[in-house]
C-alpha cells in the first residue's frame, strides 16, 4: 500500500463488547431520524396537491369547487380540443363538416364548463384563427352557431382575452344580417355584446365596422330572446361616452316603436334589457332624450313601476353572460334620466294634476318605502329633480306621502341616500330663481320641515367630509338662519350644535366652504362668538 500502512488483513473479532458499536448505532439512529424527518417534510410539501397522477382522461365533475387540479385538467382538455379542431378544420374528407361541428361543440362545452372557463388555454392553443375560419360564409348554421358560441365565451374573459376576438369581429357582424338564421344572429349579437361591454376602444371598433344598424334592426321583430340579446348588446354598444351612437340608434327606423312595443310586454327580462337601452339613450344623448320624452316612454315606465306588484327587484339572469340583475332599478333610472335630462320634460310632461304626474310620485313613494337601498337612492334622486321644478311641483311633493319618508331617511339612512334626500328637502324650501343671488325661501315649507326635525340631519351633513354634502348642509343652515320665522334660526342652529359644526371650516382648505361657514358664523353669531366660548 502506497500509504505505508503495513497492517495486513485484519477483521473485526466476533467477540466484541457492546459500547462502541452501540454508541455508533445510536448516533447513526439520531442522524437517520433527522433524515427521515427531512424526507417526510419534503414529501408533505410535494404531495399536498394530490391528484396530478397523470390520468388525463378523468372527466371534470360538476363541482362547485374548481380546484387547481380540475382547472389544470380543464386546461389540458381545452388545449387538446383546439388541437382536434385544428385537424378537423384541415380535414376535407368524408364527414368533414360533422367532424368540425363535433370538435367545435366539444370546445364550446369546455369553455362553458366552469366559473373560470379555460379561455387562456384556448387562446394559447390558437383557437381564434380556427374559429374565424369556421365562421366563413356558406358554413352550415350549426357550425356557425358553435363557433360564435365559442367566441362568445372567449369574449367573456379578461380584457386582453376579449381583444383577441378582433379578427373575428367582421364576420360576427356579417352574420347579424337578415340572411342569417335567428339563432346564429343572436349568438353573434351575444358575442359582440360581450366585446362591446369590454370598453370604449372596442366599442369604437365595432361602431366603425358597422355593428350598430344590424343590431338595431334585430330589435324590431317580436322574437323575445333575439330582441333581448340585441337590446343588451346595443346598450353595451352605445355606452359612450360619445353620444353619437345613442343618437344614431334612436334615429334607426322603427327603433323607437320597438322600444315602446317591448316595454309594453309582460316579459320582465325583455323589458329590463330594453329599459337599459333607454337608460343609455337618455343619459347620453339629448337628442334621444327629446325623442323619448315626446313618446309614451315615460308613461310606460311609470306603469311598469306601478304594476310591479312586488318590489323584489332582483331578477338574476340565469345562465346568461349578461350581468343584469334587476328590472326596476333600470326602469327607475330611465325615468330619472328622462326627468333630469331636460327641465322641459318636467314642465311639459309632468304637469301637476296630470295623471302621469301623480303616477310618478306614487311609484317614487313606493320605491322610498322599499327595503332596497339602491331603489331608495334612485327614487330620491328622481324626486330631487322633480322638486327642482316649479312651485307647483314642490307643493305636490310637499303634500305627498313622500315627505315623512324623506324626513325619516334623512336621520336614519346611509350617507349616500341622506345626501339625495337632503337635495329633495332643500329643493322643497327654495323657490325657483330667475337670476343670480340667494334663492327665495318657501317659508312655509322651511318652517314646517325644520319643525319636523330636519335641521339636525343637515347639520350632520355640514360635518361631512364630502364637500358637496357639506355645502348642501351649509346652504340649508343659511336658509334656516335667514328664513325661520321670528328670527328663531340662530337659536335652532345653536341647539343643534350647528356653530361647532361650522367652526370646523374656520381654517378649511376649501375656500368656498370656509367663507360660507365663517360668513354665517360672523353674521349670525357675532365676531367674537367663538372666542368667548
Amino acid at each position: 500500500m502506497a500509504d505505508d500502512s503495513s497492517t495486513s488483513h485484519r477483521r473485526d473479532p466476533i467477540k466484541s463488547s457492546v459500547g462502541n458499536v452501540a454508541a455508533q448505532r445510536r448516533r447513526q439512529n439520531a442522524v437517520t431520524v433527522g433524515k427521515e424527518r427531512r424526507e417526510s417534510l419534503v414529501r408533505a410539501k410535494r404531495l399536498c396537491r394530490v391528484g396530478a397522477t397523470g390520468d388525463g382522461d378523468v372527466p371534470v365533475e360538476e363541482n362547485d369547487m374548481i380546484t387547481d387540479e380540475a382547472g389544470f385538467l380543464l386546461d389540458t382538455q381545452t388545449s387538446s380540443a383546439v388541437e382536434e379542431l385544428k385537424s378537423a378544420v384541415a380535414y376535407q374528407g368524408k364527414g368533414a363538416m360533422q367532424k368540425r361541428v363535433n370538435t367545435l361543440r366539444q370546445l364550446r362545452r369546455l369553455l362553458s364548463k366552469s366559473e373560470f372557463p379555460p379561455v387562456e388555454a384556448a387562446l394559447k392553443a390558437g383557437a381564434i384563427p380556427l374559429l374565424v375560419q369556421c365562421l366563413s360564409f356558406g358554413s352550415p348554421d350549426e357550425q356557425l352557431l358553435e363557433a360564435a358560441w365559442c367566441l362568445t365565451n372567449i369574449a367573456a374573459g379578461k380584457p386582453e382575452e376579449t381583444k383577441a376576438l378582433m379578427p373575428a369581429l367582421p364576420l360576427l357582424i356579417a352574420h347579424l344580417g337578415e340572411k342569417s338564421s335567428l339563432p346564429v344572429a343572436e349568438q353573434c349579437a351575444w358575442a359582440l355584446g360581450n366585446v362591446a361591454g369590454e370598453g370604449e376602444e372596442l366599442r369604437n371598433v365595432l361602431l366603425s365596422q358597422g355593428a350598430l344598424p344590424p343590431l338595431a334592426r334585430m330589435m324590431l321583430p317580436n322574437k323575445g330572446s333575439t330582441v333581448r340579446t340585441a337590446a343588451w348588446a346595443l346598450s353595451n354598444l352605445i355606452k359612450g361616452p360619445d353620444p353619437k351612437a345613442a343618437t344614431e340608434l334612436i334615429k334607426v327606423d322603427g327603433v323607437l316603436d320597438a322600444i315602446l312595443r317591448h316595454l309594453r310586454k309582460v316579459d320582465e327580462e325583455l323589458a329590463t334589457e330594453v329599459a337599459w337601452v333607454v337608460v343609455y339613450l337618455s343619459a347620453l344623448s339629448n337628442f334621444a332624450t327629446g325623442v323619448l320624452v315626446k313618446s309614451d316612454v315615460l308613461q310606460l315606465l311609470v306603469e311598469r313601476l306601478a304594476t310591479s306588484n312586488s318590489l323584489q327587484l332582483l331578477i338574476p339572469n340565469e345562465n346568461k353572460l349578461m350581468q343584469r340583475k334587476c328590472t326596476l332599478i333600470v326602469v327607475l333610472r330611465s325615468l330619472g334620466n328622462l326627468v333630469a335630462a331636460d327641465s322641459h320634460t318636467i314642465s311639459t310632461v309632468l304637469v301637476p294634476g296630470h295623471e302621469i304626474t301623480d303616477g310618478v310620485i306614487k311609484v317614487l313613494v313606493k320605491c322610498l318605502k322599499s327595503d332596497h337601498r339602491v331603489l331608495k337612492k334612485e327614487a330620491s334622486w328622481v324626486l330631487s329633480n322633480i322638486a327642482a321644478g316649479s312651485i307647483e311641483h314642490k307643493q305636490l311633493i310637499y303634500s305627498s306621502e313622500a315627505v315623512p319618508l324623506l324626513l325619516r331617511l334623512l336621520s336614519t339612512a346611509p350617507f349616500d341616500i341622506r345626501k339625495e334626500v337632503a337635495y329633495v328637502l332643500g329643493n322643497l324650501c327654495v323657490a325657483p330663481t330667475a337670476g343670480e343671488g340667494k334663492p327665495n325661501l318657501i317659508e312655509e315649507h322651511l318652517a314646517s320641515l325644520v319643525q319636523r326635525g330636519c335641521l339636525s340631519g343637515f347639520i350632520d351633513l355640514v360635518r361631512s367630509a364630502d364637500i358637496e354634502a357639506a355645502r348642501l348642509g351649509l346652504q340649508f343652515t343659511e336658509l334656516v338662519l335667514r328664513g325661520v320665522p321670528n328670527g328663531d334660526g340662530p337659536k335652532l342652529v345653536e341647539q343643534e350644535d350647528g356653530i361647532d359644526a361650522m367652526e370646523i371650516y374656520q381654517f378649511h382648505e376649501n375656500e368656498d366652504l370656509r367663507n360660507m361657514a365663517n360668513g354665517l358664523v360672523d353674521k349670525y353669531f357675532g365676531e367674537d362668538y367663538g372666542i368667548d366660548e
Partner: protein, 872 residues
C-alpha cells in the same frame, strides 16, 4: 532551474518552533510563487544521494502531498494543478524520480516509488506517461541491474497497480508486468529483498491478472509460484504470499477448485505450527472463502439455475477437517489476554472464522462443534472451558433457531451458573455468549425467545449480580442486558415483560457507570449505552414515570461534571467523555419522550434547564464543541419546535464553532445535521442566523481540509434551509448553486472502480438532489423564476445519473423526486428543456416498475408534474 531548498527542508523539521515556522513560510511562499519549479526542486532534492536523508524524506512527503489528498475535491484540485504544469518540467521531475529508484538509500527509493505511483494515478489513465511501464520493466529485464533497483522497481510496480485501474493498461503491458513480478518471486534468481518486493507487488497486481487467471496454464503457473513462495524460509515472504492467497480467495474464488486440496494442506500446516503472523493469514484465507460463499448465498435467488457465479461449496466440503482445525486454535488463548476489543490473536481469529463457517453452512456445523463444547466445558483447565464457551457463542448465528433453541434452552442454566466461574476469561466469554444468545435467539416480536417470562427473573438476577464483577466481565454483561432489552422493543404484550424490572436495571446500570475500577471509560460508556437501549426499547406507556425520574438524575450528573477539577488535559478528556455519555442519555430520553404527545410535556418542562446544561457543556471547552451535546440539541430542537428560537442567541456561537470544526469532522457533520433539525423547528424564524450559517457552510464546502464525508450533509442542509426560509434563500443562490453544480460535475467524473468512492458518489448525488429539491420547493409558490437559469444543468445531471447503472436506490429516489420538484416549481419554464431531454420517459418507466412503493409513488407524482408541464 531547480532551486536549492535543502536548508529550508531541514529547518522545517527543526525542534525550534520559530525556525520551523519560518522555514515552512519560506517553503509555502516558494510553492505559491512557482509551483512547477517548487516540485522540480523537490524531485531534485529527493534524487540527490549527496543530500541528507531528512531533507530528502520531507521533499518526498511534500511531493506526494502535492499530488494526492484524501478529500475528493482537494484531490481533483491537485490533479488539475499537476496537469497544468509544463510538460518539459513534468518530464524532468519524472526522470529524477525514476533515477531515484536506483539510489543507494532505501528510504529515497521507497519514497520515490510512492511518488511515481501518485503521478501514474494521474497520467496513466490519461495516457500521458506511456513510457512508464516500459522503463520500469527495463530495470527488471537487464541482468546487470543492482538488486536494490529491482526491489524498488517491483515496489513501484506494486504501487502503480494499486493506484490505477487494470483498464488503464493494455493486455501486453499487464502480461509484461505480471511476468516481471512473478519472475521476481523466483527463488533461484533473486535474494529475499527482491522476492519480498515482488510478492508484495503481486498482491497489488492480482487485480490486473483477470485474463491471466482465465488461462489455465498461466493460472497454474501463478498459483504454483505463490504456493512455493508461501513455503519460503523467510517469515515475511511467507506472510506476503499468504496475503496474496487471501486476495486470490476473494478475487478468483470461482477458479480455485483444482487448488483447494493443496491450499487446505498448506493453510492447515501453517495454522497448526507456523508463526502467528502467517497463521493469522492462513485463517484469514478461510474467512475470505466464507465471505465469498456467504455473499453468493445472499444473492442467490430461490429458484436456482440462475446464471450467477458458481458456488463451489468449499467450506461444506472442507467442513469436517476445517472445524477441528479451527476449534484447535481456540485453545491457544494468551495467558493474560488483554480483554480488549483490539485484541487479535490466533484464538480470536479462529473463533471469528468459526462464526463465519457457521453462517456459511448453518446447521451442519452444530454436530461438529457440540462434542467439543460438551467435553471441554466441564474440564478443570480454564482454557478448555473458555474455548468451549467461545465455540458455542461463535456458532449462534447461521444455524436455524429450531436447531439451536433446544441446545440453548438446555445450556442456558449452565451458562448462567458459569457466570460464577473462578476464571475471569471464562466469565467474560460466558457473558459474551449470553449476549449473543439474546441478540440472536431472543426475539419475542418475531415469536421466538429462549427466555420465558418465568426464567426472565432468574436471568436478570444473574446479570444484575454479575455486572458487579470485574470490569471486563461487567462490560460483557452490559452487552447481554443491551440485547435482552432490544428483544422486547415493540414486541407487543411481551414489551411489558421488562417493565417491572426497569427501575432496578436502570439503577444497576447507573451504579456500573459510576464505577471507578475500570481504568478507562469503556465500562462506563457500555453501561450508559446499555441504559440508552433500555430506555429506547422500553414500553413508554408503562415506564414513562420511571424515565421521568431518570431525567433529573442524569441532568444532575451532567451538572456535576462542570465541577470536576481540571488540572491536566487528561482531566479535560475524562470530563468530555463523561459529558458525552450523559448527553447521549439525554438525547435518548428526549427522543423517547418527544415521540408521544403524553410524554412530550415532560421534555418541554425541563427544556430550559436541559438547554442550560448543554450550553454549560459547550462552555467547558474553548475552541471545540461537544459532539454528543450537539446531537442531543438536535433532539431538543425537534421536541421544542419553534420554542427553540429563544435558545438561538446563546446557542448560535456554538453552532458556528461546530461548523468550523474541520479537524473533528464528525462534530462538523453532526452540527450540519443539527442546523437541519433547527430549520425544521424554527422555519423562517431561523432567518436572522442564515447569513452566518450559510457563510460557514459554503466555507466548509470549499475547504480541502474538511473530511469529504461532511460535504453531502451540507448540500442536504442547503435544502433544509431553503425549505425553512423559502424565497429568502434567493440571496444565497449565486453562491450555493455553483457549488452544487461543481459537485455534480465531480460526481460525473468520479472513479467507479473504487467501492468506497462509488458509495461516496451516491451520497453526494443524493445530497445534491436534496439541496435542489429543498430550494425548488422553497421557491415554488413565490419566486420559481430564480431557479430557471439552473434548470438545464440540473436536468443534465439527472440524465447522467439516470444512465448510471451503479446508482443506489436512494439516489434514484432523490433524482426522480427532484425532477418532479423541477416541473412542479418551474412549470412551463422548463417545457422546452424537457422536450429536448428524451431520457426522462425511460427513467420514469424504470422507476414505475420498481418494487419499492415509495419510489413508485414518487415516480407517479413526478410523471404527473411533468405531464402538467408538457400540456401547458
Amino acid at each position: 532551474m531547480a532551486m536549492e531548498i535543502t536548508q529550508f527542508l531541514l529547518a522545517a523539521q527543526s525542534a525550534d518552533a520559530k525556525v520551523r515556522t519560518e522555514a515552512e513560510t519560506n517553503l509555502r511562499q516558494f510553492q505559491e510563487q512557482n509551483m512547477p519549479l517548487f516540485l522540480l526542486s523537490l524531485s531534485v532534492e529527493l534524487s540527490n544521494d549527496e543530500k541528507p536523508v531528512e531533507s530528502r524524506r520531507l521533499a518526498g512527503i511534500v511531493l506526494k502531498n502535492s499530488l494526492d489528498a484524501k478529500d475528493a475535491i482537494r484531490k481533483e484540485q491537485l490533479v488539475q494543478q499537476w496537469m497544468a504544469i509544463n510538460v518539459s518540467i513534468k518530464s524532468q521531475i519524472k526522470d529524477f524520480l525514476l533515477k531515484t529508484l536506483g539510489s543507494s538509500v532505501p528510504e529515497a527509493r521507497h519514497t520515490s516509488a510512492q511518488v511515481i505511483a501518485k503521478i501514474a494515478s494521474i497520467e496513466v489513465p490519461r495516457k500521458q506517461w506511456p513510457e512508464l511501464i516500459g522503463s520500469l520493466l527495463n530495470n527488471m529485464t537487464q541482468q546487470d541491474k543492482p538488486a536494490a533497483l529491482k526491489q524498488a522497481t517491483l515496489e513501484t510496480l506494486g504501487y502503480v497497480c494499486e493506484e490505477i485501474s487494470h483498464q488503464d493498461l493494455v493486455q501486453d503491458e499487464v502480461n509484461a508486468v505480471l511476468t516481471a513480478v512473478v519472475q521476481g518471486m523466483n527463488l533461484a534468481d533473486h535474494g529475499p529483498e527482491v522476492r519480498l518486493a515482488a510478492t508484495k507487488a503481486l498482491y497489488n497486481a492480482l487485480e490486473f491478472a483477470q485474463t491471466n487467471f482465465e488461462n489455465e496454464m498461466e493460472r497454474n503457473y501463478i498459483m504454483k509460484v505463490v504456493c512455493d513462495t508461501a513455503m519460503s524460509k523467510e517469515v515475511e515472504i511467507r506472510q506476503a504470499a499468504f496475503e496474496c492467497l487471501v486476495a486470490i480467495a476473494s478475487a478468483y474464488y470461482e477458479v480455485l477448485e483444482p487448488y483447494m486440496q493443496t491450499l487446505f494442506q498448506l493453510t492447515s500446516n501453517v495454522v497448526k505450527s507456523d508463526e502467528e503472523t502467517v497463521a493469522l493469514q492462513a485463517i484469514e484465507f478461510w474467512s475470505s472463502i466464507c465471505d465469498e460463499e456467504i455473499e453468493l448465498q445472499e444473492f442467490e435467488s430461490p429458484e436456482s439455475g440462475d446464471s450467477g457465479p458458481p458456488h463451489s461449496c468449499f467450506i461444506e466440503k472442507a467442513l469436517s477437517s476445517l472445524v477441528p482445525l479451527l476449534l484447535e486454535t481456540l485453545l491457544k488463548q494468551e495467558e493474560d489476554q488483554d480483554q480488549d476489543d483490539t485484541i487479535w490473536n490466533i484464538s480470536m481469529a479462529g473463533g471469528t472464522c468459526l462464526g463465519l463457517v457457521a453462517r456459511t453452512v448453518g446447521d451442519a456445523i452444530v454436530p461438529l462443534v457440540m462434542p467439543f463444547v460438551e467435553s471441554n466445558i466441564v474440564k478443570p483447565d480454564w482454557h478448555c472451558r473458555e474455548a468451549a464457551t467461545y465455540a458455542f457463542g461463535s456458532i449462534l448465528e447461521g444455524p436455524s433457531v429450531e436447531k439451536l433453541s433446544p441446545l440453548v434452552q438446555a445450556g442456558l442454566e449452565f451458562l448462567l451458573n458459569a457466570m460464577k466461574d473462578g476464571n475471569n476469561q471464562v466469565k467474560d466469554t460466558t457473558a459474551w455468549t449470553l449476549s449473543r444468545i439474546f441478540e440472536l435467539l431472543h426475539s419475542p416480536a418475531n415469536g421466538f425467545s429462549v427466555i420465558s417470562p418465568e426464567n426472565l427473573e432468574r436471568v436478570l438476577a444473574v446479570l444484575l449480580e454479575s455486572i458487579k464483577d470485574a470490569p471486563n466481565v461487567a462490560e460483557k454483561v452490559c452487552g447481554a442486558i443491551y440485547y435482552l432489552a432490544q428483544g422486547y422493543e415493540e414486541a407487543g404484550p411481551s414489551s411489558s415483560l421488562l417493565s417491572p424490572y426497569l427501575t432496578e436495571i436502570i439503577s444497576c446500570l447507573i451504579t456500573t457507570a459510576d464505577r471507578t475500577d475500570g481504568g478507562d471509560s469503556k465500562l462506563r460508556s457500555s453501561a450508559y449505552e446499555t441504559l440508552n437501549e433500555v430506555v429506547r426499547c422500553s414500553n413508554i406507556a408503562e415506564t414513562s414515570s420511571i424515565i421521568a425520574q431518570l431525567l433529573p438524575v442524569i441532568m444532575s450528573k451532567l451538572g456535576q461534571t462542570m465541577d470536576i477539577q481540571i488540572v491536566s488535559s487528561d482531566d479535560r478528556e475524562k470530563q468530555g467523555d463523561l459529558q458525552a455519555s450523559l448527553c447521549g442519555v439525554l438525547q435518548v430520553i428526549i427522543q423517547k419522550f418527544s415521540s408521544t404527545d403524553e410524554t412530550k410535556p415532560i421534555i418541554l418542562q425541563a427544556a430550559n434547564q436541559i438547554m442550560l446544561l448543554f450550553l454549560k457543556v459547550f462552555g467547558c471547552r474553548s475552541s471545540t464543541v461537544h459532539e454528543e451535546a450537539m446531537l442531543a440539541i438536535g433532539a431538543l430542537a425537534y421536541a421544542t419546535g419553534s420554542q427553540f428560537e429563544k435558545y438561538m442567541p446563546e446557542f448560535y456561537k456554538y453552532l458556528e464553532m461546530g461548523l468550523q470544526n474541520f479537524e473533528e469532522y464528525q462534530v462538523c457533520g453532526i452540527t450540519v445535521g443539527v442546523v437541519g433539525d433547527i430549520c425544521r423547528s424554527l422555519d423562517d424564524k431561523i432567518l436572522p442566523y442564515c447569513d452566518g450559517i450559510m457563510g460557514l457552510l459554503l466555507k466548509d464546502l470549499a475547504s480541502s481540509e474538511l473530511h469529504r464525508s461532511v460535504k453531502p450533509p451540507i448540500f442536504s442542509c442547503f435544502g433544509d434551509i431553503a425549505l425553512a426560509i423559502g424565497e429568502h434563500f434567493e440571496k444565497y443562490v449565486p453562491y450555493a448553486l455553483p457549488m452544487m453544480q461543481g459537485a455534480a460535475e465531480i460526481c460525473a467524473k468520479m472513479e467507479t472502480s473504487d467501492e468506497e468512492m462509488v458509495d461516496y458518489g451516491n451520497q453526494l448525488r443524493r445530497s445534491i438532489f436534496e439541496a435542489y429539491s429543498g430550494i425548488l420547493q422553497g421557491f415554488k409558490t413565490v419566486k420559481p423564476e430564480v431557479m430557471v437559469p439552473y434548470a438545464q444543468h440540473l436536468l443534465k445531471f439527472i440524465e447522467l445519473v439516470s444512465r448510471d447503472s451503479e446508482r443506489d436506490e436512494s439516489v434514484t429516489k432523490a433524482a426522480v423526486a427532484v425532477m418532479g420538484d423541477l416541473a412542479d416549481a418551474l412549470g412551463s419554464n422548463i417545457k422546452l428543456m424537457l422536450k429536448e431531454s428524451a431520457f426522462y420517459d425511460e427513467f420514469l418507466g424504470e422507476c414505475l416498475q420498481s418494487d419499492d412503493e415509495q419510489l413508485k409513488e414518487t415516480a407517479g407524482w413526478t410523471q404527473g408534474m411533468i405531464q402538467r408541464v408538457m400540456v401547458l
